[in-house]
Homo-oligomer: 343 residues x 2
């Protein structure tokens, strides 16, 4: 009556009347074991409900079969989606996932990185602090494979998977112009936010390229619904209304929509509206919101694939920087025609 908790490789060896080395080899599928013996060992292990002790195996094999995922938070749709993608790949490739979130100070995060030693074969990192000099290199073993997600870290040796915010914003402006809108205002995101900056840069470039007669028109915002509402009010107070408003994220677009509704303007007949992110709410509001969708799960899955390739190839970085391509989602908030006289 051995309890499953205490069955070790020794027990299996004794029971099968072979050495522990042979048990190890048979269980790990090393070719050099006689077929007879292999079968016996496997059967014995199964009968005894033997389960290798992960820590012991890690210690001698230097492999943990575990990937660490370092995120700023575990909450919300973005991270939920990201983890879903990561988890899919992890399961398919039989890896465990050690998640580590932090919120606090950089020191706390450094600590989180350091305690990963001996726990993981590689690390997926999404951190606002990743671009600090030494943050990664000083806290991580030099040999540990690392893949960065949505991190702006130029000249790094680590592969980085980013979201093409710039391209997404350009695609949106292009759509709005094609729909007949000329004067397109933009509600920006928080100062210093990289995603927000890239979206704005895309807007500015696209307007210049596709609607050169109209000067860009940028309103301040901070990604909150309230800031979108305020921007909408400012827009309404201006002497000449734009044909369309493009908000740097959906929440601000919804706030703006609220302001437009209050003022009795119809969307998209009087003014078109677009956002960025494709949050679940986007398709439930009236009118449903044109926006940019990012396949976040795919981003996570891609990062995980890349990382596992590195782990298997002993750190040889398989691919360089990659990018998640955003997708334009056209809904009715933008499909109305712009006033003909506006061009």
């Amino acid at each position: 009556m051995t309890r499953s908790s205490t069955v070790t490789i020794k027990d299996v060896a004794r029971e099968a009347e072979v050495s522990v080395a042979t048990v190890s080899r048979a269980l790990n599928g090393h070719g050099n074991v006689a077929e007879e013996v292999r079968k016996l060992v496997l059967a014995t292990a199964k009968r005894l409900r033997y389960q290798p002790h992960a820590a012991a195996r890690s210690l001698s094999s230097r492999r943990t079969q575990t990937i660490g995922v370092v995120l700023p938070d575990l909450y919300g749709e973005f991270f939920s989606e990201l983890i879903r993608g990561i988890d899919q790949v992890a399961r398919a490739r039989r890896q465990h996932l050690l998640v580590s979130s932090y919120h606090g100070h950089p020191e706390e995060q450094s600590e989180a990185l350091r305690t990963m030693r001996g726990r993981v074969d590689g690390l997926l990192v999404l951190s606002p602090y990743a671009d600090r000099p030494g943050f990664l290199t000083e806290n991580l073993p030099a040999a540990l494979p690392v893949v960065l997600i949505n991190t702006h870290l130029p000249n790094t040796a680590y592969p980085v998977l980013n979201i093409d915010n710039h391209g997404g914003a350009m695609a949106m402006v292009e759509h709005l112009v094609q729909a007949g809108h000329r004067r397109i205002a933009f509600i920006g995101g928080p100062e210093g936010n990289f995603d927000a900056g890239e979206r704005q840069r895309g807007y500015l470039e696209a307007v210049q390229a596709l609607s050169p007669g109209n000067a860009p028109w940028v309103l301040e915002g901070d990604f909150s619904e309230a800031s979108g509402y305020e921007a909408g009010c400012r827009l309404l107070a201006s002497e000449q209304r734009p044909d369309a408003v493009f908000a740097a994220n959906d929440m601000m677009a919804l706030g703006c929509l609220f302001a437009l509704n209050e003022a009795g303007l119809r969307v998209p007949e009087d003014i078109a509206l677009a956002g960025f992110d494709d949050i679940p709410l986007a398709r439930f509001v009236h009118p449903p919101l044109t926006t940019i969708r990012i396949r976040i799960a795919e981003l996570g899955a891609g990062a995980m694939e890349c990382l596992l390739d590195m782990v298997q190839n002993e750190g040889e970085s398989a691919r360089p920087t990659m990018v998640a391509v955003p997708e334009l989602i056209v809904r009715s908030s933008s499909t109305g025609r712009a006033p003909v006289d506006s061009s």
Copy 2:
């Protein structure tokens, strides 16, 4: 120039000119180390950027500082919230989180449980298969502390944290009755779903107790928006309309709302409506939906606290079954008065 990846306790010992035993004791805060020596060791470890190897430590100390979280999925608001609560406690108590999701067959899940050996000090389990005989006991070391979440497993030795679906449904019916509604219809959830069953049981009991003159009125549903819509249509086709509709979840309530809107009925003036779950959308629809909120993050946090107490107390189950208390969220979909002549 030792690289941080290769600094071991031996290096620290050599550098500080003490034994590895002393280094270990100093680093782990065991009292029996001279203050002088302790300081020297700590300084040396810091200077060398020493980081203990987790697997080695686990192997000899039989502690991993890691809790395994076994969930059916990592996706969606429920799991996102649950993990958030679990993570909060984990961080506060300096534990790592090994997440394991599965979707597939019970065998796959058994395998997931078994590979936890040597990786975790305890397990948080939310599994539709947990009530199968032997599913837990046969795949887990008998000594491993386990806490079950939202699992219907009677007579188990494991602590279980459940959601009080029954009480929540009763509270909702009570609210509707107090708001003046008498004939209250119920849209049920999927056959065999425990949560759905409990909600329905709560509805039936409360109607019998609080509105004895009116027979219960249960419509079929399966938690999908579409099934809520269909139920709404069936309701509209019946000869006598109910005063209120209570759907077993919010998605069905929204589907029902859509059907009522189509038919030109006003909510709550013509018919009141309520759901269960308090999904984010619930407060954004018109009218905002009265519903039941479950503090999922608190559920996760409570489970984690309970589990960590068990781990620290060597498996002594601190508390028995506990329950997450739902909260009634009254919004305008239910606040209208029922027709006076209906009672």
